[in-house]
């Protein structure tokens, strides 16, 4: 155990975590040059496409120190985006130390600080590393000052490296061995391991990723999951070395996996403690704080027969993304579905994409909502994240919505357009700073609800892709809220309802009506689309009826052909939802969220 070090790399997004992890993997010879590819730990397609880390990944590196001692370094690569902070916090619980990367030209950023605080909460030893020293704009002295002033760390301890060029890698590895303490814990104590992640494999069942704190476990042992007392026989234990590598035993201090044929997906809970059935640990390890969602949306199967398949996909997905929360929801228009809570917008997008890609699901996702607070006349406070539960307006005394501090980094020339966008979105108290010549950082206080729909897309469009956007939740503020309903031929489509600021209701209503007009195909009859607050219509559009589709002849030889054609069309309509007597395509629910193309 003295030869084990558990550490993670934390940093603001894009400061080079995954690249440094790549260098560690290459330096320790875990893979040869031929097998290597950039961002080797980002295994998901989405991660590679977007160039970001979404999931923490674990890898055990065999490292021989300058003195020739062999160590086992367990590296946990973590995401940098604020939405995945929860993922980071879980990884930290398995470590004794953290490598904190600061970009040599960007310096200390919001997530640098947030991640450092998290590391300190977990009592981790922090090794500051200044990365990207190869950049022409690198300003090591300034960054050192920031480390001293903003992070209150000793700047002289900061190591210099260029992960890209492979400079200073050995120094960082040596510091990990020297400064980070070996894991505490006792092999003789009853086995206790913390589940920090899991994966579902259709052949082998649930694969648990865990950090062993005390004792040890071997194949053949019977483990017990402490939260629900479910027991399983261990089939295999091992370490992660890019692929799973079986081992005879997993013992205190180690980070690895346990396979024990767990087929009941819901038995495995992230944050639970695994122990041995024969010698259970006296009490569970302290788990993780539950993730607190800030953005909500419902998902509904397109066809009711897909409901069960979505249920199973969500269960399996949840194993691998503990931050997703969901519960049953139902809509008059769309039937049975789920209300989901996400840590942020990126998280929502990632969940949607992974469910579609990895779990082969297709579904309708409703307009994202934030959590509003209403104070009723009798003094009770209610929190509402689903427009379906919007209180009776007569009962509402006051209403509040969550605000954020938005930070937007853009080339200076886009400032006017970005200011306009933020002001449209009810941004207030703008502040500016110039972190690098030619670039400007604008910060605004804005309602979260204004950024959950199409804000980032619009920002990217108006800055031609140069804008970056980050935000943090600040507080709840009074807000004049109303519920906007959308009706299609008089039938309320509850999945399109939205709680919105009164001043923005009309604009939103017009946008939704226009969008639906484009998306809903012509029917045999005229379709009226209306936006309404209470009983009052505030926007409308019409899909005109199509003129004629009947063929002149339909005799003995034509019937089969015509039926086949209709069957084909009918199949196409399976991807539509019948609301009243109108078929609304899945794409319509997506389209209402898209920015207007001004």
């Amino acid at each position: 155990m003295r030869r084990i070090r558990n550490f993670c790399i934390i940093a603001h997004i894009d400061h080079g975590k995954s690249t440094l992890a790549d260098r560690f993997i290459q330096y320790t010879g875990l893979v040869n040059e031929r097998q290597f590819r950039d961002q080797i730990l980002d295994t998901m397609d989405i991660e590679r496409e977007r160039g970001i880390t979404i999931k923490s990944q674990t890898v055990t590196l065999p490292y021989t120190t300058r003195q020739g001692k062999i160590f086992e370094l367990n590296l946990i690569d973590t995401p940098g985006h604020v939405d995945f902070t929860y993922e980071v916090s879980r990884a930290l619980a398995s470590c004794e130390g953290a490598v904190l990367i600061v970009d040599a030209s960007q310096g200390v950023e919001a997530q640098t600080l947030a991640n450092l605080y998290m590391a300190m909460e977990h009592d981790l030893v922090v090794i500051p590393v200044i990365n990207k020293i190869d950049l022409p704009s690198a300003d090591i002295d300034r960054v050192k000052k920031e480390i001293e002033n903003e992070l209150a760390l000793d700047p002289e301890e900061a190591l210099l490296c260029s992960a890209k060029d492979g400079v200073g890698i050995e120094e960082v590895l040596e510091a990990i061995v020297e400064k980070i303490p070996p894991p505490a814990g006792a092999v003789r104590k009853p086995f206790a391991a913390l589940i920090f992640d899991a994966n579902y494999d259709s052949f082998r069942g649930t694969i648990i990723s865990c950090r062993v704190f005390d004792g040890s476990v071997r194949p053949g042992d019977t483990i017990r999951l402490m939260s629900n007392r479910a027991t399983y026989r261990v089939e295999e234990v091992g370490l992660f070395r890019l692929t799973r590598e079986p081992k005879k035993e997993l013992s205190a201090g180690e980070v690895g996996y346990i396979i024990s044929g767990i087929k009941t997906v819901s038995d495995t809970r992230i944050g639970d403690t695994v122990t041995l059935d024969s010698h259970p640990a006296p009490e569970p390890l302290s788990g993780f704080k539950a993730a607190k969602p800030v953005v909500f949306s419902s998902i509904y199967p397109i066809s009711t027969e897909d409901y069960q398949s979505i249920v199973e996909a969500l269960e399996k997905y949840k194993l691998n993304d503990a931050a997703l929360v969901y519960e049953k929801d139902s809509s008059v228009a769309l039937g049975q579905g789920f209300r989901c809570g996400f840590l942020g917008l990126l998280h929502l997008e990632i969940v949607q994409e992974r469910l579609e890609r990895e779990y082969d699901q297709s579904f309708i996702m409703t307009v994202p909502s934030v959590q509003y607070q209403f104070t009723l006349n009798d003094g009770t406070k209610v929190q509402v994240d689903n427009p379906q539960y919007y209180p009776d307006p007569i009962e509402i005394q006051s209403s509040e919505e969550p605000f954020i501090k938005a930070s937007i980094l853009i080339p200076e020339r886009y400032m006017g357009a970005v200011m306009k966008l933020c002001l449209e979105r009810r941004g207030v108290n703008s502040k500016f700073s110039y972190p690098v010549p030619g670039r400007i950082e604008i910060s605004f206080e804005m309602p979260l609800s204004e950024v959950v729909v199409d804000f980032y897309d619009r920002l990217k469009t108006i800055t031609q892709g140069y804008g970056s956007f980050d935000y943090e939740l600040t507080d709840y503020r009074d807000s004049n809220l109303v519920k906007l309903d959308i009706m299609v031929n008089g039938e309320k489509v509850d999945a399109l309802s939205l709680i919105v600021h009164r001043d923005r209701a009309r604009q939103w209503g017009v946008q939704v009506c226009d969008r639906l007009k484009e998306e809903i195909p012509r029917h045999q009859f005229k379709i009226a689309i209306q936006g309404a607050i209470g009983g009052k219509i505030i926007s409308r559009s019409t899909v005109s009826a199509f003129r004629k589709d009947v063929t002149a002849k339909c005799y003995g030889g034509d019937i089969t052909r015509k039926r086949k054609l209709l069957e084909k069309q009918k199949k196409g309509k399976k991807r539509m939802k019948m609301v009243g007597s109108v078929l609304i395509p899945q794409s319509a629910f997506v389209a209402v969220l898209k920015a207007d193309n001004e």
Binding site: Q524, F525, V550, G557, R563, K570
Partner: protein, 373 residues
Amino acid sequence: MSSIEQAGLYVHVPFCRTKCPYCDFYSVTDLSLVSRWLEGLQKEVSYYKDRFDTFDTIYLGGGTPTLLEERDLTVLMDSLFQSFSFSPDTEITIEANPDDISLEKLLSFRDMGINRISLGAQSFNDDELRFLQRRHTARQAEKSLELIRASGFENVGIDLINGLPEQTESAWIKTINRALDFRPEHLSCYQMTIEKRTPFGKMSAAGNLKPIDVNRERELFLFTSRFLKENGYIHYEISNYAKDLEHCSRHNLKYWKHNSYLGLGPAAHSFQGSKRWWNAKSIESYCRTLDERRLPVAGTESLSAEQHQLEMLFLGFRTREGIDYEIIQGKPQWRKVISQLDTSGLITIRDGRVVSTLQGFLVADSLSLLFQD
């Protein structure tokens, strides 16, 4: 309209003197094949002997049945009468071409028991007839009708086409008025459909033929229906009108009501119970299969309950008989659609049936798609 339970008999006569560029029915112009076809047909008839109950319609369609020599037609009719049983009031229709008609021929039809004529006049405008590459003139069509009446036929239908690319409404009114002069018991007014595999289809794909604008097509359809109703006709199917219920095409109604029918000859379709089958298209393979003592069936299908229901819907929406309301009432999810369609003026409910209105007729093909299980 008469009893619905009896079966219909269709005979496909796949010969034409020349091919019309808009027509996609199977026919050939090589008349030397007639005797071979007739031999085959007689064999096919013998196979189906006793397999069907009483028929109450015979429909000689094509192709151009009036192209047949009198003796060939006699052989054909005799073989039908010998092998099958018919109800006493059987409706026997022949499709006729104006350029084949003579008094002599018409009288021979009557002798054979044919009691209904469907004349392919198509238009009473010579420019239009040339465009359609018909072999007759407007005058010939008029003459044929005079002869048909003179020979004593009391059940006469006239086929007309509207919606030609350059057709004006006034030209169509003239044609339709001319047809009405003969007080036909039945009128079929087909809107021109450009079928892919026809010469018109190819011209259209190459950009040399521009189909009529859908709004004008629609106006012509609406006009035709209103005009013929004013003149006392019943609009009983998308393209079909009759002087009274007695004169609706009893044979064609069977197609729309899922009644049994037996189709003889190349490319003919048959239906019985929930089974549908169709013959080989080419005369050659049709005859060869029969030579080998096998039925010339090229395909069969057995309708599932769901398919049967879909057909019932789309066929039902084409006719003034509509669909039994009971069927719809049993499905709560359909009632909403029905009430929407009713409000939109596309259907109406009368005498326990859901029936397309004139506006509904225009979109009858897709109405069935709104009814999902």
